[in-house]
């Protein structure tokens, strides 16, 4: 158990807190911490993407609110918060209002599964990969809900596209997770990360490069990013499944989309790029002569920075793709994921199993 938890328990016992409170409060604190972290990351991410795309297209990007436009996303968020709640006439109210909630909350839940540092693992489960698969399917339901309940034909087509596309891409995505758990022999994310800790060559990207590529592409499809942003293809469907949502409801979809981008990138980093492990094989904080508690604290920060760096590089690649590629058509996306990605992912499982067998023999 992490050192923070031990300190926390020590403290709570000293002040004679009841047992249920100790347990409940710990989860509450980590929930608040992680949720705030997610919102902040998304806000930074949105601004970063705009600046980055502006850099690609030789523009300045947002530069009015705050220095170099650093407060732009916050201003946008405030504007969205104060917008009038517009309710179209022919909607299915219940489903219409459920959809924005349904898109954000599962993404938040998945966020809890990631081991941020060796000390901060908000939800450490022995089958977190399984949970990941299960929960990640829920946001797709939300897009379908939004498409069907809006009473708009563009939304309907967008929702249908999102659904077909998600089904076709989740299968290769999950097959890649199986190849990871074959390699690690575990479904616990923390132990998967710990198995990659010795050096950069321990990272699972090296035996499983094919799995990495398949996972990355299928993740792009799940995230609805270019070139697979068909459900909200602007030139065909105006805004796709969230055409009829405004104000905060729209913000939920928007935030959910960026949060999903971030979380899936963090997952790729965790599964294939060694997670929070330092690529150098040692931590700078280990070299310093400090009291154990400070050292542990610094190490955690260092690990967190490594994870964020790896995630950031993946996000850069995703945005780079967005800046340079046109959009595929629905038909071709489906053909691509059913005929190319899925068979390759199954083939990859065999390769990984043989690799694992050979390694245990030799």
């Amino acid at each position: 158990m992490s050192i923070f938890y031990l300190i926390y328990i020590e403290f709570m016992i000293r002040i004679n807190a009841p047992h249920w409170l100790i347990f409940a409060l710990w989860h509450l604190i980590s929930f608040i911490f992680i949720a705030i972290l997610l919102v902040i990351t998304v806000i930074i991410l949105v601004l970063f993407e705009r600046k980055y795309l502006a850099f690609y297209t030789r523009r300045k990007g947002p530069n009015r609110v705050g220095t170099y436009g650093c407060l732009q996303t916050i201003a946008d968020a405030i504007k969205l918060l104060f917008k009038e709640n517009i309710e179209p006439k022919n909607i299915d109210k219940m489903i219409y209002y459920t959809a924005p909630l349904l898109v954000f909350s599962p993404i938040m839940t998945v966020w809890f599964l990631i081991p941020f540092t060796s000390g901060i693992i908000p939800f450490d489960s022995s089958c977190s990969l399984l949970l990941f698969m299960a929960i990640l399917s829920i946001p797709i339901l939300a897009t379908l809900f939004a498409g069907f309940s809006s009473g708009n034909k563009y939304s309907l087509i967008g929702g249908l596209r999102a659904c077909t596309q998600a089904i076709s891409s989740e299968i290769p995505l999950f097959l890649c997770l199986i190849s990871i758990s074959i390699l690690s022999g575990s479904m616990n994310l923390d132990s998967i990360v710990k198995m990659q800790n010795d050096s950069i060559f321990q990272w699972y990207i090296f035996p499983n490069i094919l799995g990495f590529i398949i996972f990355f592409i299928s993740a792009l499809i799940v995230m609805n990013r270019t070139p697979f942003d068909l459900p909200e293809a602007e030139s065909e469907l105006t805004a796709g499944y969230h055409s009829e949502y405004s104000g905060m409801k729209f913000a939920m979809f928007f935030l959910g989309e960026y949060a999903l981008t971030f979380i899936l990138s963090a997952f790729i980093a965790t599964l294939f790029l060694g997670g929070y492990n330092s690529p150098m094989g040692f931590y700078i904080s280990d070299l310093l002569n400090l009291p154990i508690i400070f050292q542990e604290f610094l190490k955690n920060i260092e690990q967190f920075i490594w994870l964020m760096l790896k995630t950031g590089i993946l996000i850069l690649i995703i945005m780079w793709i967005r800046a340079s590629y046109p959009r595929l058509t629905t038909e071709k996306t489906l053909i691509f994921s059913w005929y190319i990605l899925t068979p390759l992912a199954i083939f990859n499982i065999f390769i990984m199993a043989i690799y694992k067998l050979l390694r245990s023999i030799l």
Binding site: K153, S235, Y325
Partner: protein, 372 residues
């Protein structure tokens, strides 16, 4: 084809306010799944009655309105109109005026093609090429602004020539631009032409064969992409095009991709024409005569004339019936986009919805020209 029952068909209304209809075209699209069964294009949302307006105005008063027929290539419309009047009055513009008209029209052709390029790629979902195209377009528009005083609605030509003389500074800027333009074109080709997604979305899609092209009176780059070598600048040269060395690119593939390639090549040819005009103008910078001395206010032409010009979108005709009064009796504009819109049902039928944008975008339709 199998008959599809009515309850499986979804009618959706694309436009008149829609990101990819290039203005205010409305298309009622019948879909079965995502397959297009039928498209019914509905136009008229930008109808300004330009032909009726002509009957209430004198020839001079109508001149500034003419630019608005096609706001992306205003020079071509005003040339077609003025050329008609000049023919009726037997005025021949001076040689320098002809060169200035040619150089401005070719620059206008490049801006029009660049805007098309950006919008076409935007329709396909790529965002960056739009900005890259606009960076180059901005340079030309800045030059034209300094020359004519306006960025889009130039109103620069006048009877027997142009309103203001071109000076050495502007000529040097034109030269500078055309020297640099090749690198920009290379950049577009590198970014777009080799892109597998772009190829998969444009190759073998939206085929126009020769018979259909003739049947539907398609002209311009769309016609040349179907393998018919037809360019007014070569076939019946106007202005100074017979003194100029340029080629008319023709491709036989008939698809969206070849229409893209043709336009890129056309920009290259335009650049060549601009450079040749520059070389002539720089040697004749001292020539004074740029317009005729006839007072535009009081002309009373008589007769009828078909004045033609090869605009960026195809054959633009201005037909003038003059009855010897101050005002035109009847003016008819034959605009190329009007005929391209008709074709959309033939082209996009049985393709998927995303292909509609790739086909429609490649035709280079502009709505003010369709509705007039």
């Amino acid at each position: 084809m199998e008959v599809i029952s009515q309850d499986r068909i979804l009618d959706i209304n694309i436009g008149p306010q829609h990101p990819s209809t290039h203005g205010v075209l409305r298309m009622v699209v019948s879909l079965c799944g995502e397959t297009i069964i039928n498209i019914n294009p509905i136009i008229g949302y930008l109808h300004r009655g330009l032909e009726k307006m002509a009957e209430n105005r004198t020839y001079l008063q109508y001149l500034p309105i003419v630019d608005r027929i096609d706001y992306l290539s205003g020079f071509f419309c005003s040339y077609a109109y003025l050329n008609g009047i000049e023919k009726l009055l037997n005025i021949t513009p001076s040689e320098k005026a002809k060169y200035i008209r040619t150089i401005t029209m070719e620059m206008n052709r490049i801006t029009s093609h660049l805007l098309w390029l950006g919008c076409f790629l935007m329709d396909l979902g790529a965002s960056s090429p739009f900005f890259y195209a606009f960076i180059e377009r901005e340079k030309i528009i800045d030059i034209l602004e300094d020359l004519t005083g306006s960025r889009m609605m130039y109103n620069y030509y006048t009877l027997g020539g142009v309103k203001r003389d071109i000076d050495i500074d502007i000529l040097n800027r034109i030269k500078e631009f055309s020297d640099h333009f090749e690198t920009a074109l290379k950049e577009y080709e590198d970014l777009i032409e080799g892109n597998p997604i772009f190829l998969s979305r444009t190759k073998n899609i939206g085929l126009i064969n020769k018979e259909t092209a003739n049947q539907y009176s398609i002209t311009g780059a769309n016609l040349r992409a179907s393998g018919i070598k037809k360019d007014l600048r070569k076939d019946s040269p106007y202005l100074i095009y017979n003194n100029i060395d340029f080629e008319v690119p023709v491709l036989n593939n008939e698809d969206s991709f070849s229409r893209f390639v043709i336009r890129i090549k056309e920009m290259r040819e335009s650049k060549k024409i601009i450079l040749q005009c520059y070389n002539w103008l720089i040697n004749h910078i001292k020539d004074e005569e740029i317009k005729s001395n006839i007072n535009f206010m009081h002309i009373k032409p008589e007769g009828k004339v078909i004045s033609e010009v090869e605009s960026p979108r195809g054959l633009l005709q201005c037909i003038i019936h003059a009855d010897g009064t101050k005002k035109p009796y009847r003016i008819k504009w034959r605009t190329p986009s009007f005929y391209s819109v008709q074709l959309i049902n033939n082209l996009a039928k049985n393709y998927k919805l995303p292909d509609l944008m790739s086909i429609f975008g490649s035709l280079d339709v502009i709505m003010p020209e369709v509705d007039r």
